[in-house]
Amino acid sequence: MLKAIYEHLKKGLQKTKEQAKIGLSELNISRKIDDSLFEDLEIALLKADVGINATEEIIEFLKKEAKKKGLKNGEELKGLLKEKLISMLKGCSGELRLLNEKPDVILFLGINGSGKTTTVGKLAYRFKKEGKSVVLAAADTFRAAAIEQLEVWAERTEARIVKHKPGADPAAVVFDAVNSAKSRGDDIVLVDTAGRLHTKEHLMKELQKIKRTIKKFSENQPCETLLVLDGTIGQNSINQAKVFKESTDVSGIIITKLDGTAKGGALIPICRELKIPIKFVGVGEGIEDLQPFDPEAFVSALLD
């Protein structure tokens, strides 16, 4: 019985492997444009986490254009696809918006383990290199050793850290951080918050309270509310972005972990539906592994 199941699974495995066409690069695109080519393109897009809705839209578009322009070869189609994807990301790139208010406050949020704390460290390093004075607010008072983790990043980047005890009110930490930055004339406050699933209403309320606390110092702050998305995650990212945007008015996205083999294609439907600018891409665990988002480079990697 067990053996039979194992054989069955092994067979399934082989079959899946035979079928495997990994990305566009391994797809022979220099061929006649026909239904099978469109099918292969569809699979390539789905495999990049673009999602069924956006993928169908793209394929429809390609079919129509190919007919209209009388395209014959797949190579021509590839160019068209690339253009289409880049155009879908139009309006979704942008630099950090700083107001030079001393302090400018940047709030980081996202689901558990997406890379918030690491990204705070990386950005602190960037600002320090620009000669700015940076304060890290340890507003994750919930997760075990979250404060200690941020402390290590503070040491590495020589930023000042403001922290309370584990279990303290995160909004109180943020108040102290912004308050002290204001009185000392620091340039930037980076607020690291605890990871939370967008489905947990009380935790989303906690973020709103943090935001209100920041606004007590300046109506213009936080100058950025950055949602940190894990690039290995699939279609759930869309919901995450939607809910975080609704409840905390996200102003930008940072997508992490694109140094692996995941493509982060969910950004396409996220951009299409929510038009949130993508500001940075995380490409490793190191202090310098953060790059500005470049739609063309992103699309090239996606189709690779």
């Binding site: 199941i5 194992y6 699974l9 092994k10 399934g12 495995l13 079959k15 899946t16 079928q19 495997a20 699979i43 789905l46 495999k47 990049a48 986490d49 999602g51 069924i52 689901i111 558990n112 383990g113 997406s114 890379g115 919930f142 997760r143 075990a144 050793a145 979250a146 200690e148 983790q149 402390e151 290590v152 990043w153 990871g195 699933l197 967008h198 489905t199 947990k200 894990d230 290995t232 995650i233 699939g234 279609q235 759930n236 990212s237 919901n239 972990k257 140094d259 692996g260 083999t261 995941a262 493509k263 294609g265 969910a266 665990e285």
Partner: protein, 439 residues
Amino acid sequence: MFELLTEKFSGLVEKLKRAKRLDERTVEEALKDIRRALLEADVNVEVVQQFIKDLKGKLVDRELIKGLTAGETVVKLIYDEVLEVLGEHSPLQKPEKTPGVIMLVGLQGTGKTTTAGKLARLLKSKGYTVAVASTDVRRPAAMKQLCTLAQSIDVKCYADEDEKDAVKLAEKFVKQAENDGISYLILDTAGRLHIDEELMDELVLIKSRVHPVEVLYVADAMQGQDAINTAEVYHQKVGLTGVILTKLDGDAKGGIALSVRRVLGVPIKFIGTGEKIEDFQPFYPDRIAQRILGLGDIQSLIEKMQAAIDEDKAEEMAKRVMNAEFTLEDLKEQINMIRNLGPLENILKMIPGVGSKLKHLKVDEKKFIKIEAIINSMTPEERRNPQIINGSRKRRIARGSGTTIVDVNQVLKQYKEMKKLMKKMKKSGKMKLPFNLPM
């Protein structure tokens, strides 16, 4: 999706009423929706293609499940298929020698350290002497994180911030655990990318030194299409004995479960359902299957099937009634059937046109229980031939059922009246089912 399917098929239902089998068109229509649902759930697209192809072969020309429409039949069959792929609940391996080492491995931020704490708590609650150990020399404050969790559940934690060699740490901690008489040692490792050769080699080396009973791959339930690729590389290089899916407390569908099971065949052992240390459960396939397919309500399908089976019985009974063969045994069965449907009031209220009139009616379920108890206390012979029930038999039945002779008499009288009524019904040919039960 379930709503979608049933909606879509409700138009077809009329046509299909007489059909007893799933025709190709119905199956194809349904599979289109299933494909969408699976892709939206992040099941790997290649797995989806193959799965759909297999399903088509299995579904076309299948008999409809009794009581279900064509659409519902498809959903139920696919659900069963997904359940099969997901596999059974699979417990942890018992250690042959102590300490039994459980290695937790996986990508960055999936939940390994948190899960180490959760697993330790679970094993401790089962009476094992448990310890956790950290070999994460890379992530800031990783050791502190693990030991904080361990401390909160009063479990020993091995860590050494000064040693930077993960393999040496692993060996050292296993020895320590042996000396400390630990039965399960949970070994936390640093998160790493499957394409990081150097770090993957480190895992292989650790494994070869500590001979773990389990190497559990901790994966984020939200992971997208790449999930398969990652898990496959981990499995090929390190050799996995199980999978733990984390962060299932959100609204992710967890398609990774299906992909991983289908391609690797490694059992899913546990699921993480929250950040707190007690948010941890053994894996049961039905919940995930429902989630992946987006079936809010597979239970209602099952109930409908159940009802259909009961309908068969009811029909059979109707025949017996028409032939006036109705015995006390049948009466008992009928009571059972009705009681199985749930609180009587609710059922009566669901009958169109009856609900509003019944507002003040209180159905006395206790009476049913009493009737059942009385019938239960009769011998089979007495049930078939109630006329043999004399005074002494009545006394015995009353004692056996915890009722009084008056009660027994009442049941017998009601039964006689029902039977009379049925004879009349038979003559007039009106009313098919004897639903005028005593109340």
